[in-house]
């Protein structure tokens, strides 16, 4: 096992998780490559997402709009903002071709808003481009968040998973 790569990858992804929990969206957006996709699928078995319905299928423009909505103050479902704490674990490097690294991890997220504490558990697959210009040497080119209850009726989620 390449523990050096595992350490580099987990450092980058823990930083991403920390930025989201602390609503540091400018730095989160900067972790992405322009052509990257943030996807929250419905179908747990889907591997291609463009031709099916997802919860979110964000390119760069949509990520910027999603962030603007979260911080803009016009969206009643984000006022007050949800407080989240997520922990990322069980990193498994699925592929490394020298240019990109694909890694799968377990995400446990707790959300508190108004009077309710909720859990969201997800299997998350990241594709990272080795990119000297990015923080930690990587840029995100895909983040696929597979909620384990994606096929159930969810409550509204006013933050980024």
């Amino acid at each position: 096992m390449n523990t050096q790569l595992l350490a580099e990858v987990s450092a980058f992804l823990w930083r991403e998780a920390d930025l989201l929990d602390h609503c540091d969206y400018d730095n989160w957006l900067a972790q992405w490559r322009e052509d990257g996709l943030y996807i929250v699928p419905i179908d747990p078995d889907a591997t291609d997402f463009a031709d099916r319905l997802n919860y979110a299928h964000d390119d760069h423009a949509m990520r910027v709009k999603r962030v603007a909505r979260l911080v803009g103050g016009d969206s009643v479902s984000t006022q007050p903002v949800s407080r989240t704490v997520r922990s990322l674990s069980r990193f498994h490097i699925l592929a490394d071709d020298g240019q990109t690294v694909t890694v799968r991890a377990a995400q446990f997220l707790r959300e508190f808003r108004k009077e309710t504490l909720r859990d969201y558990t997800a299997d998350v697959t990241y594709t990272l481009a080795r990119d000297g210009s990015g923080e930690g040497g990587f840029k995100l080119i895909a983040k696929i968040v597979r909620l384990i209850n994606s096929t159930d009726a969810l409550h509204c989620i006013g933050y980024i998973l």
Binding site: A50, D74, V76
Partner: protein, 438 residues
């Protein structure tokens, strides 16, 4: 949280719905909710599926009619059945998947198996029954099923008026809505499911509520292009709301988009220019224009009492769970056999607004949740439904007023009152064996 009350008598209920307001207890009283499940959901035509969801023989989906689980399935003769999801032996559900394809439904408990038409086919080890089990007597219970414009409805009431009569003037709006296939048959290609802690009628009202749009959806409107923002700035515009009878109503927000096959020579909106260019590689110009005009959906919401709406570009399905819990499905519509690029545009537009991570739905949901919470304050107070009343006038189909009038809600509540206060309502137990008390 809710105040229990005695089961309200018919006369009491009629006092709770007035011409211009309804009483708060319609959102909060569990006894009224129980009565609604019986008198409305067990006694109306209730939407269960779009035909495309059960396209081939053996295709099925599981859903609910009111609180009762059902399976919608197409048999080998192309007939659609709606069957109670309950084994006739000891009541276990025979289907737990949301959708799929099968040859039969087999109860996992003792292995009783049923055909696609619900008939009881096989019983393991039948010897012990001797002559005391006639399989012909124990099919999965069937509801009556009728279809219009691809929309499939079911009812427990065998003597219910024909679906076409129940829909009445709503039928022509259903026909118009289906034009968003852009020349292709429309197809339900998945849905967003979410729940909110509130009464089902709060969502029923919302589909015919133009007034809320610029307020609650301000953040959504800030994420669309200028032309779209202007198009959606309809509250002071020429649109209208029309009561279509039987609780159905239509809210036309964008009159120009009533008929998606009209005005095909109009300039293509800037936001669809890239799509049009992509389609030109495979389609002639007239077809490109027809597809592009249909991609963004119709300019109206058609509310069909009690549980389905044709809402601009998607189907909105509501399922009452309890007096203060409602499940919503926003089913996306694509063109069956249509261009992948056009369908992708439809999928991305749906994701942009709808669902638990959309830019529109969460704000609606938050508002509905607050309605339910607020309804526990001042339990003697009323919900106002008088907007647009002075300008309301009679039409051949019903009554019409301005685009942000509460005419559609008044229509739904008058139908609610009619069903809830009817003295001749057939209880569901007449059609389906239900709980009997000793």
């Amino acid at each position: 949280m809710t105040t229990a009350s005695q089961a309200p008598g018919a006369r009491d209920l009629s006092d709770l719905v007035r011409a211009d307001r309804v009483h708060t207890s319609l959102y909060t009283d569990p006894a009224i909710f129980d009565e609604e499940m019986d008198r409305i959901f067990n006694n109306c035509w209730v939407w269960v599926a779009h035909a495309s969801e059960v396209k081939e023989p053996g295709d099925f989906k599981s859903t609910y009619v009111g609180r009762q689980p059902v399976v919608v399935v197409r048999d080998r003769k192309q007939k659609i059945h709606v069957l109670l999801n309950r084994c006739r032996h000891r009541a276990a559900t025979v289907c737990e998947e949301k959708k799929g394809r099968t040859n039969s439904f087999v109860c996992p408990y003792h292995g009783w198996s049923y055909g696609l038409d619900g008939s009881l086919r096989g019983v393991p080890h039948p010897e012990s029954y001797g002559q005391c089990l006639d399989k012909g007597e124990f099919p999965l219970k069937s509801l009556r099923v009728e279809e219009y414009a691809g929309m499939v409805f079911a009812t427990f009431k065998q003597d219910q008026e024909p679906l076409a009569d129940w829909l009445g003037p709503a039928k022509k709006w259903m026909d118009l809505f289906m034009k968003q296939g852009g020349g292709f048959p429309i197809k339900v290609a998945g849905e967003h499911r979410f729940r909110f802690p509130g009464n089902w009628k709060i969502q029923l009202e919302n589909t015919t509520d133009g007034y809320h749009f610029p307020v609650i959806h301000k953040s959504f409107l800030s994420t669309v292009d200028k032309q779209t923002e202007q198009m959606l700035d309809f509250v002071n515009g020429p649109g209208f709301v029309e009561d279509l009878g039987n609780g159905h109503s239509v809210m036309v927000m964008i009159p120009d988009l009533i008929d998606l096959e009209a005005n095909l020579d109009a300039p293509i909106p800037a936001r669809f220019e890239e799509l049009a260019e992509e389609l030109r590689a495979d389609y002639p110009e007239d077809q490109v224009r027809r597809i592009v005009r249909a991609v963004g959906g119709s300019g109206f919401n058609l509310n069909l009492f009690p549980n389905i709406a044709c809402s601009m570009a998607f189907f909105r399905v509501l399922r009452p769970v309890s007096v203060d819990e409602t499940e919503i499905h926003h089913a996306v519509i694509t063109m069956d056999g249509g261009p992948a690029a056009g369908n992708r545009a439809r999928l991305r537009l749906h994701e942009h607004f709808q669902g638990p991570l959309g830019f529109g739905t969460p704000d609606d949901s938050e508002a509905w949740e607050r309605v339910q919470k607020g309804a526990h304050a001042g339990t003697d107070l009323w919900i106002l439904l008088n907007r647009g009343l002075p300008g309301e006038r009679v039409t051949p189909d019903g009554r019409v007023s301005d685009v942000s009038a509460e005419t559609g809600m008044r229509a739904a509540y008058q139908q609610w009152k009619k069903l809830m206060c009817a003295t001749t309502a057939v209880p569901s137990s007449a059609a389906v064996p239900s709980v009997t008390t000793a």
